[in-house]
């Protein structure tokens, strides 16, 4: 797929990094402020999608990227499940038990497992939205060929 004009490319170059960082911020502060893994993940995926749309990418690269993002998606959800299962082995012996120390409410490192859950949900959502986008683009390229 082809890229866009130089104006779009330059603007994207300036903005994409900031959007990415904002997504990371939303994910990391998920247990303190509104938002969290899902919202932050969508924003992170948005920055990647913006880059692909502005700069374009050839077919083989798209396929490679799709394989990579599928892998991240599957790994993230497995880690999430594993974190839930650790609650059954350690702590109170209950699925999804929050057995890490809870810390002081309001600080960044607090609330036990919640920040970890948010991070992996963020990776999962970002990777899956990117995968859906890439799958649609690849489908369109295949139809055009």
């Amino acid at each position: 797929m082809k890229g866009m004009t130089v104006i779009v490319k330059k603007t994207t170059q300036l903005i994409a990094g900031i959007i990415f960082l904002y997504g990371i911020y939303i994910i990391l502060h998920g247990h303190l402020t509104p938002g969290g893994g899902f919202a932050g993940g969508v924003i992170v995926a948005g920055s990647f999608i913006l880059l692909i749309l502005a700069y374009g990418s050839d077919f083989l690269n798209l396929v490679k990227e799709e394989r990579g993002s599928t892998m991240y998606e599957n790994l993230a959800i497995l880690v999430f499940l594993f974190l839930g299962l650790t609650g059954m082995i350690a702590g109170a012996g209950i699925f999804f038990a929050n057995w890490l120390p809870h810390g002081t409410p309001g600080e960044l490192v607090s609330a036990g497992f919640l920040p970890l859950y948010n991070i992996f949900v963020g990776i999962e959502v970002a990777a899956s939205i990117l995968t859906i986008f890439l799958a649609l683009v690849i489908f369109k390229e295949e139809v055009l060929k």
Partner: protein
């Protein structure tokens, strides 16, 4: 008592689904063995939980959030007599379908996606059956529904895509109605826990509002269960899917996400009212009668079986509805219990024989390459095992002793007569006779009808894994009839009936009051 294995019913198939995709990329044989291992494990723990559970039920609080002053605040998974039966059903039919798929799916590409979606569908159904929270039921329902849309389209031919589109459109309408109803419930009850909703609604409820929620939920889950006015998607979707998936959809999915949820909600979440139970009975009787008349004219085997699914689910709904009417009137509670037991028993039996029939249809398609009855004939010689097992399944769906279908239909008809629903009893008998006629047609045209000049000597029996699962299901068809015996009926079926009949037991075990 808390059964520590309950979350594994959802966690293990989910993990299996995603591990399949990762490992299947490096080793091609992994997906099928992974799915087999997951379902073996599930079958083991589901039967173990059924045996050790007894008639008590087990409530699992996720994350350890105990109720505060009788108000449940966390998510609950509930394993009681009724859900235990459904879990056994899901894992048994699932295990046999995966065994069957090992040979059957070898001719398709991207097997790893097939097994991954299969595990996801199992996870979704287990979640629906275990969940004690109506929004979680919705979430798991969507997991199983979306993976089944993809599985119906797995052949990616014109027919499959058309069928899956129809299925998706109606499925989304159903999900929308369910979500709408959940929104209404949350608006008025301020809670999503089924037991808690019951307590709130029984204290004071606005009658028309309550009725709207009931009708929306009945329509939504009725669409998922393919009760007659909402059945348009089922014949296409169930006949276009690969055969092991047809067996799962017809055998388990419409029960786990349709009938089970309707029964669970209308007994344990709402109070049984006479008006609603008459509606449910009428819908059941209607789909029982209309389904069989639509079925008898079909020449495509899988469409014929799919219409019979509608008709047989009609038996279940009608029988449970009779129980509800009697409960609402407050008379003859032992007859009501008999009717509900008959319905649940028929649901178990239907999973066994309809699963088997779809696997037989798949075996015929595998060997002969057609689903049209007019192009077959004399297959009994080339495919003796398929012929014998499909005879067993046909006899049991038409209600011939000593197969399981006879006993459940007998219980349903006896309950209808004892409850003085003479017309419904007569209807059930007539429908059973027409079912017998249409399966005689199936047997004759597929296996025995030998026309001169059309004899095919090149037909071979299917591979061993497929035979293994068909034979196992045929044996299960025979063994399930043992559940009609007095001793076994009390230990296996009665806990399920009790949790539905006892109006306060379900909610009191969660709120602790």
């Amino acid at each position: 008592m808390m059964n520590p294995l309950i979350p594994l019913f959802v966690a293990v198939p989910l993990a299996g689904a995603f591990l399949t995709i990762i490992l299947g990329r490096f080793i091609t044989a992994i997906p099928r063995y992974m799915a087999l291992a997951v379902l073996l494990f599930l079958a083991f723990i589901s039967f173990w939980s059924l045996v050790t559970g007894g008639d008590g039920s087990s409530v699992y609080t996720l994350g350890g959030w105990e109720p505060v002053e009788g108000v449940p605040i966390g998510l609950y998974l509930i394993h009681d007599g009724f859900s235990a039966l459904l879990l056994c059903l899901i894992s048994l039919v699932g295990l046999l379908s995966v065994t069957y798929s090992v040979s059957y799916m070898a001719r398709y590409t991207s097997e790893n996606y097939f097994y991954s979606l299969f595990c996801l569908m199992i996870a979704g159904m287990n979640g629906v059956v275990l969940s004690g929270d109506i929004f979680n039921i919705y979430v798991f329902l969507e997991i199983s529904a979306i993976s089944s849309y993809a599985l119906v389209a797995f052949g990616v031919e014109k027919n499959e895509l058309e069928a899956t589109l129809k299925y998706q459109v109606l499925g989304v309408v159903a999900s929308f109605m369910i979500l709408f109803a959940i929104g209404f419930i949350y608006w008025s009850a301020k809670t999503l826990n089924i037991a808690d909703i019951r307590t709130v609604f029984s204290a004071d409820y606005d009658n028309s509002h309550y009725l709207l929620i009931q009708i929306l939920l009945l329509t939504g889950f009725g669409l998922k269960a393919a009760i007659i006015p909402f059945h348009a998607w089922l014949p296409d979707a169930h006949s276009s899917a690969p055969s092991p998936i047809s067996a799962m959809l017809s055998g388990v999915l419409i029960k786990a996400v349709g009938i089970y949820v309707i029964i669970r909600l209308f007994f344990n979440m709402f109070e049984v009212t006479e008006g609603m139970s008459i509606v449910i009975t009428t819908l059941g009787a209607l789909s029982m009668a209309v389904g069989v008349f639509l079925a008898i004219g079909q020449w495509d085997i899988k469409r014929l079986l799919a219409y019979h699914s509608i008709s047989q689910m009609g038996y279940v709904v009608m029988s449970v509805g009779i129980g509800m009417i009697l409960m609402a009137r407050g008379i003859r509670s032992e007859v009501a219990a008999l009717a509900i037991t008959g319905g649940i028993f028929h649901m178990l039996n239907h999973a066994a024989f309809k699963g088997l029939l779809f696997l037989n249809a798949g075996a015929i398609e595998y060997s002969v390459g057609t689903r049209d009855l007019r192009e077959m004939g004399g297959l009994a010689k080339g495919m003796p095992v398929t012929s014998a097992t499909s005879l067993a399944a046909s006899l049991s769906i038409s209600g011939i002793p000593p197969f399981n279908g006879f006993f459940s239909k007998l219980i349903i008809i006896v309950a209808a007569v004892m409850g003085r629903f003479y017309f419904l009893a007569l209807l059930a008998v007539i429908v059973s006779i027409i079912t017998l006629a249409s399966f005689m047609k199936f047997q004759r045209y597929a296996f025995y009808n030998v026309e001169p000049g059309k004899i095919r000597n090149d037909i071979k029996e299917v591979p061993v894994p497929m035979l293994l699962s068909m034979i196992t299901l045929a044996v299960v068809c025979l063994l399930l009839s043992l559940l009609a015996l007095p001793g076994l009926r009390e230990t296996v079926l009665s806990p399920a009936t009790d949790i539905l009949m006892d109006q306060l037991k379900y909610s009191s075990q969660i709120t602790g009051m």
